[in-house]
Amino acid sequence: MREQTTLEQSIRQARDKKDILLMTHIVLGYPSFDDSLRMVEDMVNAGVDLMELQIPFSEPMADGPVILRANAEALKAGATVEQSFKMAERMTKEFDIPFLFMTYYNILFCHGVSRFVDDCSRIGIQGCIVPDLPPAEGQEYLDAMHAAKLSPIHIFTPNTPADRMRHLSDNSSGFIYTVARKGVTGKDTAFSDELSDYLALCNSNTDLPLAVGFGVKSREDIDFLRGKVDIAVVGSESIRVMEQDGVGAVKGFIETLVA
């Protein structure tokens, strides 16, 4: 039996009270660090259960148009890794939900992998999602994360064979992130029987909680996922809402999801 990380424990505790949790995603420094803070505050007040903070990178290969542009704009406005760490530290201190980092491997590599993990630990980040780092390339990262009792989170996809799902699960803690379809973030997903079958397959290949993302954007989507997964992830859609209707609109949008 694996040892449960703090992240996994808090997810399981929260699940005792709610039948599905909501995780949201923001890009740090987009459109500004002040706006990032305001969005996190609104999201937490609206009832979000955990949050993914993306440290911007110039080559976000796995992201679709919305998050891609958010990365580019944050960098254009001068966002640095150091500022991202400072802002994340403030967020973990002020808000009592688990925070994760999502970023690409070069950010860890250039910072120094073990230093990156130490810094996460120091500022209260509980886990990381690094979409371009398969376990085979990430031994140093995995060792450092496990030693710090933080959660390295890997991704299941509709292309992932069952034996690879188990391999990914063995190298993860906290939860497993499954993407609902092929492609990049921020495009439509069909919430169908096929998706239900796939989520059942995911669940049968891990004993960790399951989060599902890519294309989740409405109350109906979340209702569909209830009972099938532990966490629904809303990523691009809240950024899109913010772009269309301003930072102030995010709270209302999240409230429609959790109501």
């Binding site: 990178f57 110039s58 080559e59 976000p60 290969m61 796995a62 679709g64 148009p65 891609l68 542009r69 580019a72 960098l75 640095t80 890794v81 690409y104 491997y105 070069n106 950010i107 590599f109 250039c110 910072h111 979409p131 371009d132 780092l133 398969p134 085979a136 390339e137 890997h154 991704i155 299941f156 996809t157 509709p158 292309n159 992932t160 064979p161 690879r164 990914l168 993407v179 092929k182 492609g183 990049v184």
Partner: protein
């Protein structure tokens, strides 16, 4: 997914999970093709009947005597169909695509050469084809876009990031993660995740194999030095591979020195010390990046060398000292091109002209008993718009203005 494809500390496969089975499939198909002698025979047959292989070696008689010193020879990759070494890689990957049963190809392109080569291959093999090209490059390279579209390819102008080659690569990956079932990504250089660096180098090794035999036959000895320009590194890997075990043959890679040292002024990852080791676009190598690991802007007079990363295999040969890296400035490159046109009647691409510039700098210091070999990776006559700008030709400018006026008049009349 095996942890393979490392060249000392460089290379690897840093890919999104969704592509792991696709890369496994590609690696198996590639390894099976390498095992199967009939594959290479089919490849050689295709290259000799559809492209112009074996390409000849030409001695630069006039410039060898003008410069004094070493005898200068040129490997004529410009004589490939579509005018560059890119055809070697593209035709090989076309055969592999067919073996894998895929029906659609996608590719990134900077200058447009690799895009044109891929569109050509797709037309011949009957594949659907989409080419990703930075919006800046689309604007600069209309003639190449024209030919790609004539050949039936869809050309997508990428408006993200710096709107150049690296952004086109990201966009091609984004297409691939949605369409991997029927689509092969024809990566254009010896970069990217494993097995691309090794596979592209394998197809390009046809240059080195021919060159070594041709130089021996002609001169009864091997060249003292071999020069190749280095963008991603495919033409360099191609010609160097023929001489890699000949320790007396010095291998010289020439990068884009642009306007000189300093961030944003050039694209020299190995010759200058502005680059550091990083991981992006799926592989680990030297990148022109800032301290946080954000990629920086690059500059070169030649779009094909204007790239932030470099083949992981070349990074390892840089570390081991097997390959010496130099940089040629924009000005030297344009001079070398004009000199080659004027005195030899050859028209090297601006990319290839980097190798010529370095060779011309070194040849006078060598002995008449020594030969040097330059890889002429492509020809420039099809890049006439870019070259005319680079040499700043006033008559060309006048011609374009007149042409534009005539179009405007026509449109006004209609």
């Amino acid at each position: 997914m095996k942890n393979s494809g490392y060249y000392s500390q460089f290379g690897g496969a840093f890919i999104p999970e969704i592509l792991v089975p696709t890369f496994d499939e590609l690696e198996s198909a590639y390894l099976a093709a390498r095992e199967d002698e009939s594959f290479w025979r089919e490849y050689l047959d295709l290259m000799s009947t559809y492209s112009c292989r074996a390409t000849p070696i030409t001695r630069l008689d006039n410039l060898s005597s003008q410069l004094g010193g070493a005898n200068i020879f040129v490997k004529r990759e410009d004589l490939n169909h579509t005018g560059a070494h890119k055809a070697n890689n593209v035709m090989g990957q076309g055969l592999l695509t067919r073996r894998m049963g895929k029906k659609r190809v996608i590719a990134e392109t900077g200058a447009g050469q690799h895009g044109v080569a891929t569109a050509t291959m797709a037309a011949k093999f009957g594949f659907d084809c989409t080419i990703y090209m930075g919006a800046h490059d689309v604007a600069r390279q209309r003639p190449n876009v024209f030919w790609m579209e004539q050949m039936g390819a869809t050309v997508v102008a990428v408006t993200e990031g710096s709107q150049t080659l690296k952004d086109a690569i990201n966009e091609a990956f984004r297409d691939w993660v949605s369409n991997m079932d029927d689509t092969h990504y024809v990566l254009g250089t010896a970069c990217g995740p494993h097995p691309f660096p090794e596979m592209v180098s394998w197809f390009q090794s046809i240059i080195g194999t021919e060159s070594r035999a041709q130089m021996l036959e002609r001169n009864d000895r091997l060249p003292a030095r071999v020069y190749a320009c280095v963008g991603g590194g495919s033409n360099a890997m191609g010609i160097f591979s023929g001489f890699i075990d000949d320790n007396d043959v010095e291998l010289v890679g020439v990068e884009a020195g642009g306007r000189g040292r300093g961030a944003g002024q050039h694209a020299a990852r190995l010759a200058y010390d502005d680059a550091t080791i990083g991981v992006a676009q799926g592989y680990k190598t030297y990148f022109l990046q800032d301290r946080d690991g954000q990629m920086q802007d690059t500059h070169s007079v030649s779009a094909g060398l204007d790239y932030v990363g470099v083949s992981p295999i070349l990074s390892s040969m840089h570390e081991s000292g097997r390959v010496r890296f130099e940089a040629a400035s924009d000005d030297d490159v344009v001079n070398a091109m004009q000199r080659t046109v004027r005195h030899e009647g050859l028209i090297p691409a601006l990319e290839s002209s980097h190798a010529f510039a370095q060779a011309y700098r070194e040849a006078p210091g060598m002995s008449a008993e020594e030969d040097i070999l330059i890889n002429m990776s492509g020809r420039a006559d099809k890049d006439i718009f870019t070259v005319a700008d680079a040499v700043d030709d006033p008559k060309w400018r006048e011609f374009i203005i007149d042409k534009a006026d005539a179009y405007k008049q026509e449109m006004g009349d209609a």
